[in-house]
Amino acid sequence: MLFDLHAEDLVTAIEGPLVFLRRNVNVGLGDAVEVSHAGGDGRIGRVVAIDGDQVVVELLEDTTGLGIEDARIRFLGEPMLMPLGTGLLGRIFDGLGRPRDGGAPVAARVERRIDLAVINPAERGLPQDFILTGVSAIDVLNSLVRGQKLPIFSAGGLPHDKLATSIAQSARLLKEDGQDFAVVFCGIGVSHDSAESFRAAMEHSGALEHTAMFLNLASEPTAQRLLTPRYALTAAEYLAFDEGRHVLVILTDMTNYCEALREVSASHGEIPSRKGYPGYMYSDLATIYERAGWVEGRPGTVTQLPILTMPADDISHPIPDITGYITEGQVVMDRELDHRGIYPPIEVRSSLSRLMDQGIGEGFTDPDHPSLAQQLFASYARAAQVRILSSVVGREGLTPTDRLYLDFGDRFEAEFVQQTGVRELEESMEIGWRVLSLLPPVELSRLSDEQIATHIRAETASG
C-alpha cells in the first residue's frame, strides 16, 4: 500500500452517488476511497474523475446521512483490490466481494485488481471442447464450447433462470474426465427470490460446494452493479487460472448492469448515445464479456453464460444488439413458443453459436453432426416461410411439399425443441433425424446420399 491518507473538510458537494472533493491530495484515477462520517461505518468509493481543482468520488454505497461538514475521507492510494484464496467455493459474497453469508473473509493468498485482466489475444487457446448441456436446441444446433461466452437473450416472464440453472447443474464434457468444475453465479440487481431459488437448486443437486455466489440485490446501490460482475469474474479467473478449474459463470441480469451504467453515466453528465446509454457501452461490456476464454498453458477455463432480458422483447434494443456484437453467439428465447407451452422456448433461427464449428463433427462429436444441424436450420427456415404463406392462402392453397414443411415445423418444435429432462447427444440427434424424415429426401439438399441412406431411410423404414 502506497499510502493511507485521512482528510477532513475536503467535501464541496454531494450529488446522488457522487462526492466532490477539493483537489489538494494527489490521487490516481480509479483509486479506492473510504468515506465515513461521525458514528457511521466507512463507505467504499472510487475516484472517477480528476481535473484542475476537484476530485470526483463515486460512492458504491448509499450516500444517505452523509453531510459536507462531517465527512471524513480516507484515500487508500491504490485501486480496489480483491482478496483471493482457497475457500471461495460454497460461499456467498455481496456485490463488492465481501462475505454476506456470515462467514469469515476469504484467507487472502493474493490480492488482485478487479478490472485489469486483459487476456493477450496471442496467448489465448482456441476454445473447442464441446460442452454437453443436455438441451437439444443448444447441443445440436448452437453448441457451447469451453471458453465461450454465450448469452441467453430472454425477456421478462420467460424461463431463462430455469434454463441457466439446468445448464449449471448438468453441463459436462462429452467424454467426462471428472476434472474440477466450478460455477460462479453473479446476480446483478436480482431479486432476493431468484437468487435464493438458484441457491436452492444448486443445493438440491449437491453442487453448492462447487458454487460461489456474488449478489447485488435489487435493493442495493446501483453503482455497485458496475463492480459486481468484475468481482465475480476476478474470482472466476482465480478459480480457473490459479486453481485449474473449469468455471461456468452465470451473469444475470446484464440488462440491470446496462441500466446502472446509463444511470451512472447520466450522473456524470456524459453525452448520451443510443437511447441514453453511454457511447462507451460497447467497450465497457467488452471488458466483461472478453474475460471468457482460456490461456495457453494454464489448466482452467472461464465460460460465460450471461443472461439479459430484452426490453420490450426487442432484439434490436442497444443492450442485446451491443451484446450480440461482442459475444460468440446468443441463445434467443421466444415468447410465442413459451405461450404454446414449449420448454425451453428457444428460437433456434435467431440463436447462434459462433464457436460451434470448432467443437463439433469428426473427432469432437459425431461426423454427421454439422450436416444435421445445417439441414435442420435450412428446413426450419423454410417451414417458417411456409407458415407465413399458409397464414395468407391457407393450408389448402399450399403445394403438397409445403404442407409437409408445415408438419415438419410443428413436430420440430414439439419433439426436438421441447423436452422435459436432460438429453444425451445421441438422443437429441436421433430426434433430429426423425423429424427430418418427414420431408421427401429430394428436399434435403444439405445431406449427402450416404447420410440420407443411413439416417433418413432407416428412420422412415422403422417409423
Binding site: 487476456i119 496471442a122 489465448r124 462507451y280 460497447y282 436450420f377 404463406l389
Partner: protein
C-alpha cells in the same frame, strides 16, 4: 523513440483516454508523447496557449495530476520491417508475442556498389522464415550512389547498405523503417483497377467482384457472418500479403486466426497461410484510443508491402468499432456531436482511409496494389445509420449481409439484391482471358433471375405457388437452384471452401444450360414439379459439394446426364397428356 527527456507538459486532468496537460514547452499536433511514469504512448490532438490535449493509447488508470508528459519531436509512427509477416501485433504495431532469439535473414543484394540509386528502389532481397521481402531505398532519400551493400546473414537491426549522397554525406540503410501512420506512402502513379482479386467465393467473383486495388464494405448485423466471410477471404483470396486488422472485436477470433492459419496451406504457393499474413489485434477490451489508430497502422503496413511490389489485401473487422472509438474520444474532447453522436469529421476520416486503396506503379516501377475490405457493424442491422451510409459513398463494392439468409444458415449470407460492384464493368476482359467470354451475359442473366424470384415469391405469397403459371414456376425452380448450388458456399467444406475461376465458369455454364433446357421442357409440357423431384435436379443442386476442383469433365457429364433425363421427362410427361 523518446529523445528529449525533459517534461514538455504536466497532467492537469484525465478523462478516460483523454489527458489535458499544462504545457511549458513546444509540442506539435500529431506528435507522439510519453505520458506519466510508466511512459504510456500518447498523441497530441490539440494545442493551445499553455495547454495541450493528448489521446493516450494505453489504459490511463493510475495517472496522476502533475505527472510528466515528454515530447518525442516525431509524429506517431510505426516500426516497419521484415519481422511483420507471420506475427501478431497490437494497434500500434508492438508485438503481442514475445519471440525468442533474433531472426536472421539472408541478404541477397540486387544492386552493386557504385550504382546510382533512387527512392523506393529495391536494394536487396531478404530470405527468412516468412516469404521473401525486400529492402527499399527510403522514400525521403534524394538520389545517391550505393557505397556498400551487405550480403549473407544479417539481423533485423543490422545495417544492410550505405548510400553516398550528393552533398558528400553517407546514409546507413537498415531493414527497419519508421513511418507516420496517418501519412500515405508515395507512389509513382495510380493504375486502372482492371485486374480481379480472386476471392474463391462464387457470389463475389462471379456476381460482385472486387478489383485489385479496389475497396469493398461488408455491412451486416451481428450473427450474419461478417467475421467468417472476412476470414474466408483472408484465407483464400489470391493476394501476396494479407493484413488482418481485428479492430475492437473478439479475442477468441484472433486466437482462431493464430491457430488456424499456420495449419492451412495457400492453394497457390503451398506454403502455410500464416507466412503471408500480418495480424493486428486491438480486441474490444483493449484501450479504445489504440483502436482508432489500429486502422491507420494496418493501412501503413499494407502500403509498406505494396511498395515492395506485392498485391496486398487488408481486412478491417470492424470499421464501426473504429468509428465508435472516434466518437468516444471526440465526446471526451467535448466536440460538438453530429449524426448519432459521431463527430462531424467521420465522413472525411472514412474517405481518407478508403482512398489509400489503389492499384499503383511503385516508385521502383513495379505494379502492385492495396485492396481494402472493411466490415461494418450497423446497430440493429440498420444500413441507414451513419457509418454504413458514409462508407457506401466511398467503396466500389458493397456486400450486404442479410439476417434472413443467416438464420437459414445460408452462407455467405450476402444478399444479391442489396449488393453491388462498380468494378464489374472493368473486369469483363479479365474474365475473357480466364476463358469465360460470356461472363457479363451470364452474370446479368443470374441477376435478372434473382430479381424475378423476389417478385414471383411476393406474388406466390398472395395467390399460392400452385396458382403461378408453369413458366413462372420453372423460374422459381431455377432461382432455387442458383441459391443452393451456386450462391451457397460453405466455408467449412473441404471441397467447396475455395472455388477457382475455372470451376466457377464450369458451374455457371452448367446452370445456364439447365435454365435453357428446363424452360424448353416446360414450354413443351413437362411439369416443373417433375423436374424438381428428379434425380438429376438433386445432382445439380449438390454440384458444389460433389464436384471439386480440377474435375471439369464431371461437369460435362453432369450436363449430358441432365439433358438425357430432361428428354426422358419430356417423353413421359408429354405422352401422359
Amino acid at each position: 523513440m523518446i529523445g528529449d527527456m525533459t517534461a514538455a507538459a504536466v497532467i492537469e486532468s484525465v478523462s478516460g483516454p483523454v489527458v489535458k496537460a499544462l504545457r511549458h514547452a513546444p509540442l506539435s499536433v500529431g506528435e507522439a508523447v510519453s505520458v506519466g511514469p510508466a511512459g504510456l504512448l500518447g498523441e497530441v490532438v490539440r494545442v493551445s496557449a499553455g495547454q495541450c490535449t493528448i489521446q493516450v493509447y494505453e489504459e490511463t488508470t493510475g495517472l496522476r495530476f502533475g505527472d510528466a508528459v515528454i515530447g518525442s519531436g516525431q509524429p506517431l509512427s510505426v516500426r516497419l520491417g521484415p519481422g511483420l509477416l507471420g506475427n501478431i501485433f497490437d494497434g500500434l504495431l508492438r508485438p503481442l508475442q514475445q519471440g525468442g532469439e533474433e531472426v536472421q535473414y539472408t541478404v541477397l543484394p540486387l544492386l552493386e556498389a557504385g550504382e546510382k540509386v533512387q527512392a523506393g528502389q529495391r536494394l536487396a532481397r531478404l530470405e527468412g522464415p516468412a516469404k521473401e521481402q525486400f529492402v527499399l531505398v527510403p522514400h525521403d532519400l534524394p538520389e545517391g550512389v550505393l557505397g556498400w551493400i551487405a550480403s549473407g546473414s544479417a539481423g533485423e537491426n543490422d545495417v544492410v547498405a550505405r548510400i553516398a549522397l550528393e552533398d558528400g554525406s553517407e546514409r546507413e540503410i537498415g531493414m527497419i523503417e519508421h513511418w507516420p501512420v496517418r501519412q500515405p506512402r508515395p507512389v509513382r502513379r495510380r493504375l486502372a483497377p482492371n485486374k480481379m482479386m480472386v476471392t474463391g467465393q462464387r457470389i463475389l467473383d462471379s456476381l460482385f467482384p472486387v478489383a485489385r486495388g479496389g475497396r469493398a464494405a461488408i455491412p451486416g448485423g451481428f450473427g450474419t457472418g461478417k467475421t467468417v466471410l472476412q476470414e474466408t477471404l483472408a484465407k483464400w483470396c489470391d493476394a501476396d500479403v494479407i493484413v488482418y486488422v481485428g479492430c475492437g472485436e473478439r479475442g477468441n477470433e484472433m486466437a482462431e486466426v493464430l491457430h488456424e492459419f499456420p495449419k492451412l496451406e495457400d492453394p497457390r504457393s503451398g506454403r502455410p497461410l500464416m507466412e503471408r499474413t500480418v495480424v493486428i489485434a486491438n480486441t474490444s477490451n483493449m484501450p479504445v484510443a489504440a483502436r482508432e489508430a489500429s486502422i491507420y497502422t494496418g493501412v501503413t503496413v499494407g502500403e509498406y508491402f505494396r511498395d515492395q511490389g506485392y498485391n496486398v489485401t487488408l481486412m478491417a473487422d470492424s470499421t464501426s468499432r473504429w468509428a465508435e472509438a472516434l466518437r468516444e474520444v471526440s465526446g471526451r474532447l467535448g466536440e460538438l456531436p453530429s449524426e448519432s453522436g459521431y463527430p462531424a469529421y467521420l465522413s472525411s476520416r472514412l474517405s481518407e482511409f478508403y482512398e489509400r486503396a489503389a492499384r499503383v506503379e511503385t516508385l521502383a516501377g513495379k505494379k502492385a496494389s492495396l485492396t481494402l475490405i472493411g466490415a461494418v457493424s450497423p446497430p440493429a442491422g440498420d444500413f441507414s445509420e451513419p457509418v454504413t451510409s458514409h462508407t457506401k459513398r466511398y467503396v466500389r463494392c458493397f456486400w450486404g449481409l442479410d439476417r434472413g439468409r443467416a438464420q437459414a444458415r445460408f452462407y455467405p449470407a450476402i444478399h444479391p439484391l442489396q449488393s453491388y460492384s462498380e468494378d464489374a464493368a472493368n473486369l469483363v476482359e479479365w474474365w475473357t482471358k480466364q476463358g469465360n467470354p460470356n461472363w457479363r451475359a451470364w452474370r446479368e442473366r443470374l441477376l435478372v433471375l434473382l430479381e424475378e424470384q423476389a417478385n414471383l415469391e411476393r406474388m406466390a405469397r398472395i395467390v399460392g405457388k400452385d396458382a403461378l403459371p408453369a413458366e413462372q414456376q420453372v423460374k422459381l425452380l431455377c432461382a432455387d437452384l442458383v441459391g443452393n448450388a451456386f450462391l451457397r458456399q460453405s466455408a467449412f467444406s473441404k471441397v467447396d471452401r475455395y472455388c477457382s475461376p475455372e470451376r466457377q465458369t464450369a458451374m455457371l455454364g452448367a446452370l445456364i444450360q439447365f435454365f435453357d433446357a428446363a424452360e424448353q421442357a416446360v414450354s413443351e409440357g413437362v411439369s416443373p414439379d417433375d423436374i424438381a423431384g428428379s434425380e438429376f435436379y438433386r445432382r445439380m443442386a449438390r454440384m458444389n459439394e460433389e464436384i471439386g476442383e480440377g474435375e471439369a469433365d464431371r461437369f460435362a457429364e453432369l450436363i449430358a446426364h441432365m439433358e438425357r433425363e430432361m428428354a426422358t421427362l419430356k417423353r413421359s410427361d408429354v405422352d401422359a397428356v
